[in-house]
Symmetry: C2
Amino acid sequence: MGRWEPGARERLQAAALELFATRGFEQTTAAEIAQAVGLTERTFFRHFSDKREVLFFGQQEFLQAFIDGVEAAPPETSPLEVIASALQAAASFFPDERRSYSRMRQSVIDQNPPLQERELHKLAGLATTVAAALRARGIGEPAATLAAESGATVFGIAFTQWIRDGETRSLAAIASDVLRELLDLTGAATASRPFP
Amino acid sequence: MGRWEPGARERLQAAALELFATRGFEQTTAAEIAQAVGLTERTFFRHFSDKREVLFFGQQEFLQAFIDGVEAAPPETSPLEVIASALQAAASFFPDERRSYSRMRQSVIDQNPPLQERELHKLAGLATTVAAALRARGIGEPAATLAAESGATVFGIAFTQWIRDGETRSLAAIASDVLRELLDLTGAATASRPFP
DNA sequence: CTGTTGATGTCTGTGACTGACGTCAGTCAC
DNA sequence: GTGACTGACGTCAGTCACAGACATCAACAG
């Protein structure tokens, strides 16, 4: 056994979520989180660049899943089909067992503007990365960015629906539905062609 | 003459942008901004809820323009046509004279993650408000949110293009083009109908 | 047995932000 | 004209997020 308990980062993340959920984000200091797992404030900030990051660290695999989904699509696939593939890959990172945890986490975020800002920033980063992956497939601008941002939007709406009370469908199924709705929406507009 | 020079808020905003542009956002303290216009730090925070807000205060009219554009659309208009109307209305808030100022401001934001987070939060707030306006017109979910978010995305991409070096088209023209691209993108996907 | 390394603690400082309270010019009632 | 009132500001003191510098100590390589 080492000098310290292993998994300091994970313990800090768990303690932080619990404290944020009970006392609230602002009413919880970084020192309190650290103390709750037998560490000091300084160590907290060694693991997380700032207090908010404790709720967002470790999303690298999720982002990678999204990218993998992009690259898994066969060549010459239309941008939105690539996005559909990416959405399915990303959704696999949120199996139903994770739903209740996600719900709790999201309720904390929804109650704190600073956390919402960070979440939006992460989502924007995702869109930027996906856009780059699309460009690497030969898709030009602004199509790549447009498709990537639309994918992020669809994912966000689907995720919100996934954690709603009473929702039982899988995230993959919901995401597929939402993407379909987006196509219907724009399809309807394209059909009538009232745009200059 | 009063005891103090009038327009404290505007003077603070101007000084802040200038200092952020020269020294950088992190290297500029709120106290320095205040001192630059003969005020104290405490007064700075009376005008702006936090340091970042000095760059974002006063966007109420812009948001209102967007909403006005939504409400100006004739009844029974398809969601994306409503968005097109809103985009045109919003674009009128950025005449060409404002381009160079916007460029400077954006370059400051682009260099500072905390400012980017705030900007995304404001844009998300815009989408939320527009979605509510669409729902008030009888558009259901998720169509309303989807359309509003797409509108925000289009505006964001168009604005980025409007700011680019060498760009001479008006924001309204660019926004119109980007929206057209979005329709082409989804239209192409809808045409082949490869989605389940 | 010894040098190095990695994760941690300790100490100390800066700057964002807040609450309580004091100040003073203009304004309005009387 | 005088006094109460108000709005915009200053002063003071405090909390907390975060960062740099340095010490500590188990583990591990040699």
